[in-house]
Symmetry: D2
Amino acid sequence: MTDFFSKVKPIQFEGTETDNPLAFRHYDADKMILGKSMKEHLRFAVCYWHNMTWPGSDVFGQGTFERPWMRAGDEMELARMKADAAFEFFAKLGTPYYCFHDVDVAPEGQSIKEYVNNFAKMVDVLGNKQEETGLKLLWGTANAFSNPRYMAGAGSNPDPKVFAYAATQIFNAMNATQKLGGENYVLWGGREGYETLLNTNLRQERQQLGRLMQMVVEHKHKIGFKGAILIEPKPQEPTKHQYDYDVASVYGFLKDFGLEKEIRVNIEANHATLAGHSFQHEVAYAASLDILGSIDANRGDPQLGWDTDQFPNSVEENTLVMYEILKAGGFTTGGFNFDARLRRPSIDAEDLFHGHIGGMDTMALSLEKAAKMIENDKLAHLVAQRYAGWNDTLGQDILKGDYSLESLAQYAVDNNIQPEKHSGQQEYLENIVNSYIY
Amino acid sequence: MTDFFSKVKPIQFEGTETDNPLAFRHYDADKMILGKSMKEHLRFAVCYWHNMTWPGSDVFGQGTFERPWMRAGDEMELARMKADAAFEFFAKLGTPYYCFHDVDVAPEGQSIKEYVNNFAKMVDVLGNKQEETGLKLLWGTANAFSNPRYMAGAGSNPDPKVFAYAATQIFNAMNATQKLGGENYVLWGGREGYETLLNTNLRQERQQLGRLMQMVVEHKHKIGFKGAILIEPKPQEPTKHQYDYDVASVYGFLKDFGLEKEIRVNIEANHATLAGHSFQHEVAYAASLDILGSIDANRGDPQLGWDTDQFPNSVEENTLVMYEILKAGGFTTGGFNFDARLRRPSIDAEDLFHGHIGGMDTMALSLEKAAKMIENDKLAHLVAQRYAGWNDTLGQDILKGDYSLESLAQYAVDNNIQPEKHSGQQEYLENIVNSYIY
Amino acid sequence: MTDFFSKVKPIQFEGTETDNPLAFRHYDADKMILGKSMKEHLRFAVCYWHNMTWPGSDVFGQGTFERPWMRAGDEMELARMKADAAFEFFAKLGTPYYCFHDVDVAPEGQSIKEYVNNFAKMVDVLGNKQEETGLKLLWGTANAFSNPRYMAGAGSNPDPKVFAYAATQIFNAMNATQKLGGENYVLWGGREGYETLLNTNLRQERQQLGRLMQMVVEHKHKIGFKGAILIEPKPQEPTKHQYDYDVASVYGFLKDFGLEKEIRVNIEANHATLAGHSFQHEVAYAASLDILGSIDANRGDPQLGWDTDQFPNSVEENTLVMYEILKAGGFTTGGFNFDARLRRPSIDAEDLFHGHIGGMDTMALSLEKAAKMIENDKLAHLVAQRYAGWNDTLGQDILKGDYSLESLAQYAVDNNIQPEKHSGQQEYLENIVNSYIY
Amino acid sequence: MTDFFSKVKPIQFEGTETDNPLAFRHYDADKMILGKSMKEHLRFAVCYWHNMTWPGSDVFGQGTFERPWMRAGDEMELARMKADAAFEFFAKLGTPYYCFHDVDVAPEGQSIKEYVNNFAKMVDVLGNKQEETGLKLLWGTANAFSNPRYMAGAGSNPDPKVFAYAATQIFNAMNATQKLGGENYVLWGGREGYETLLNTNLRQERQQLGRLMQMVVEHKHKIGFKGAILIEPKPQEPTKHQYDYDVASVYGFLKDFGLEKEIRVNIEANHATLAGHSFQHEVAYAASLDILGSIDANRGDPQLGWDTDQFPNSVEENTLVMYEILKAGGFTTGGFNFDARLRRPSIDAEDLFHGHIGGMDTMALSLEKAAKMIENDKLAHLVAQRYAGWNDTLGQDILKGDYSLESLAQYAVDNNIQPEKHSGQQEYLENIVNSYIY
């Protein structure tokens, strides 16, 4: 047993007047907002991997974190020690949920059989931990990208045996998620892409991935999993190009395999920006396609071209994201998972708390601001006004299909139309948003 | 009549030994490659807009080009002078095709009626010019983005009147294309996107665009247009976000409106790179989805974040692009249109020739290199080998749907599979490519 | 005389409770902050060019703004009408300062003599306007980049006659700035760079620019101009590469020509981000080199690769910028000039006010937040603690030069040193910043 | 002893007709070009780190390379086995040079004393290896960025003890470089930057780094090291911002500390592009400032925002780089070091050869193309013509300082100058370049 987190007491809401850096200033779990508690709105989850498994290494340097469970020793024993520490941490932080990859929680072992056994044992450990702490599983997933066997993809691998290995992990991780009461199952295709087109058969790999996703959906129904299946888009990194590039790409893929009603997206802020989109864009776009599932809350660095996975700290950005989520009706199975990690020099146990407290306060305050926007929705009103013409005869007739290109051109010329110009009012609207925030 | 191009004689193929900068070194129109002439493979087109209409202005400076047809004067007369100059230029260059927007060739006038009349007159002028010179129309299109009325979109405009205006232009431009024997009709949604999400209804705008594209396809069938309908993806610029972001986005959109068999893509090199993809990627990806239509051949600057529309000059890049096109069976209705423009200080008439000669030589040489790759296709052989497992029992059974996630996991565990690792050989493959080029 | 702005009344501070979109919510000019009024701290300026001269055009579209002074007519008369409108706008907005380029305010004419005459007349007009309204000139500058003669640079032009033309404009613009009581003179080298290295002599162009800057400084002293000379860095756009890439590049250039005590920088937010830096970085870096002069307050779009020149609206970003400025002692001759422009669809007169009101409120609120940071400067305290070792013997001896590489290595080995690791506390520090803002 | 490379025979030049992928097609070491052998021009070096030390890991996955010397075992024994393998590899490849960091070749040990001892022993081993094989050391360096102690910088660390530790490594690495006959000593400040400005004192860190660089130069003179001291710019990664951002930044820093005659730059292709510059730009710019030292030859991926360190394979890009180097007189102490690494799935010993063969052939062919450009230098002629005016009276008088701003303006107005516009001919020049290559 480790006492790594013993110095820190459970984090409490203390409000903006507090001087205590290990307290929430804005996240007041039971505070009611638009008829639901903050906790129910936000559905926060902590991730296992960045917090418990990543040693603080980067491409140019070794791990800086000296966690007791990262020392040499019996792997299963260390996994149990890690689980103890993890749930102590999760519980002290006070999020209702956590998330994990299979290999975050259990050693991979030397063979697929060992993998299955180790994982099964650790799922039992997690089950007990959940019961002890009351924590719930937002989602489970399988890591089919770190092991060298996946260096050329998992589902899209040129070798069907690797596909089969990945399928085995997904099978076990889906079953574990079901067993642990998980509310979603996530697929992130970290290596489902290519390093070079020179050795890649795009058509073949797409077929493979399409079949894999169908198998996942079929298995979901077979085991009666009630949660959502989610794909997490990312444009690149580790590979040069990933097939799940962004929401629009995933949508085309889902349509192609008839899965657009079966699979939704788990959007990560930093993946959105790496794909050349704003975080708000990806959320709004997914909502407009009815495939918004869940969120990985983090942030990138606007000057850096890789996934920095920093904790969210912009209320300005997240108010707009939260506004889109509220407009879309809020989360159902989804939530905000902090797929965020400490900077490498943030080596103390307290730093793990600072990161999450900052993130949770940011999202909680953003929720409050967005709720104000919704309550007195000037923006929605102005947007409705802007498109009002589409509710009139001409607009409706066009949308209903009553006009052909020819008849519409005829209409335009007969009426010698000269559309009026109206200001788009962007600056005014931006000021309105700031008036909700400040 | 202008003698702007009179100093330059028709460009001839003179081979690599020539010192004449106004001659082709590689483009030998009738040279046979893989059973077709270069001319038939490449199907080069010159564009009207950058060459004849753009005055050499940029965001920070006024036009630098002093073309006779850009002076003040009677607009229709100037349009005719421009057409004379354009066809003199096209013919001297010796491309088989050209392309235009409606408003490149005819003045917009003060009303929609004037527009229709002016354009109709100029289409007759173009028809005569085509007959005189033997030039053909690769594609026509309507400019529904420059006029202030389109500042908030054309098909996606909040005002259905603007939609109707755009539809009128498209109707006329499609008919003109048909009349002039055009082989494709292109839609580039320059303003079909948003400046800010704050004033935008994504769902509504998608519906509008979907209906517009359906109207275009219906009209195509109605008038019996035999060419292809093409959408040209671009991620952004002029707007913050354009819906036709890239090939993957367009594909999802087409699937959504049942148009994936009706509309293909016109891929532009610089749009590909602005979207975060290599040019080769967009071409290969479109081919793998069976929606590759035509190409706007140009290049961006890897250090600049806007559309520089430079002439292609990389044989290394375009050999790979050409290889993808040849693998996909070559162009049917499509071709290489030079959507490229001079640098602003390249003010001389000769510069227009230098740009195109460089571009045509680049593509011609790339064709020769790619043809060698195809003739003795080491890459294809190595790729086939790499995926060979998918032709064996396991691979075929997975793809046929004979395995569920569960039965495949069972198979993997029963056999305690340990997939072998094989090198991806990227460096070797890159050397092979260079051995074809050098 | 135009009544373009007549609908809008002078903008007043009304506080956060107001519903009036044409009022300040945070900018209360006379409110005292850290011993100075907001007005004195912020020293706001409005620019002539984006507001009065730019027609709302972009690379893909014509101007959307229909301003009375942009119609056809006598150029000098229109320039006077523009000046009337400009000062009405400036005065209603209530900024203490404005800024201009020579050719914003006066027609260039057909010859250099006409240029000189037109400009001289308009300087008198501006002088009268200043007197009438009480507005002051933050800085003047010469536009040596828009006219086609500058297509290959001004000071760095391959033709010394173009250098002489630019020198003439700068001479006149410096004298005008002096005459109008301007507090700074700015040089932005929009075309001082290259389109291609193939036609460029870097060494020669650097010499030319070095001499030009020396001439400017010599002239400053000759005429007794008391203001500061400022260079405005920008990495690229319109050219591929500009020599004044960023603060670090400008510093090396100034050192090379012995000008680092004579010239400071005018930092623009959007230029910082185009150069791959945060806005805060460029400000902090200039301050650390003692060359911070003035600020062009705007913002870019993190997803777009060109200068969008949007109005600042992020209190989060600008609080950090303001914190750097306050730590550096605040502005002396500099100020915040809004080098920002409306989105192209924001066509109404009110939009010009909305943009500036939003920008001014953003900066005012950022000042308030930054002042709180300074008053109780937890960050400064923690930073001082972090570097405390450098005030001890070892640190001081190293910095004083008492150690050679050898003696320091000897020290390290003799003491078998094992430096302790300390957390960098980034997440904690970010939370502290947010606690000042929210 | 390992037989990891035993399958591969020494690589020979076999010319473009060969089918042997393990032969040079273009690099013919003794072939004379412009009076020097290819070997003397190119001065190729192989690096120790990517080839022998990096295990094929990335941020999302474990090492894929199974090298015998990476197994568990006695660290010094493994280091010797690695050295054996390294020199076998270097020798078979046939480069004249290699490069290393201290900790690539020797285990760091548990203390600074152990570090010194281990390194000293391995330097002897390397010395023997050099003698056996005839290989020479292009440059040595110290790794002061990977060990957790450097997580907040080495020379710029807030703790002077860490500075002392880094100084110790540099001292030992400089001495080792001297002892092994190294021709340069390189400093790459991988962590000399910041993760966040919030905890950073820019002024203090600059002073620290300035002093460190002075100590390095002083030590060089003290020990009589005849090679060059080189700084390697990189804009970011691993940190958010590195002080040695690019050539221009390094130049300003050197000027500040009076080191611009003492220290030159080691330019890496991929660092150039990450900084927003072309590779050619950084080389040309350094040459124009007389600080061009050496080159790290590799390439980035234009679509990826991190250092991919791929092998150079573009003759088009490197011909221009080579042209700049030849124009600058060629390398003196510098050379082309392949700071390049395999893609992670390229797991075979042969892949290490393929990567380097491709890189060497690319640079050799680029040398041949660039030599042709130099021999009949049409570009230089056209550039000289373009700037010819600066050799005439007006240009010379301006550069000599004979004109003040006032007298030059007087000259311009008196002569009512109207500079002529001349085409910049970019497209023509690009065609000329391609005519040398193809």
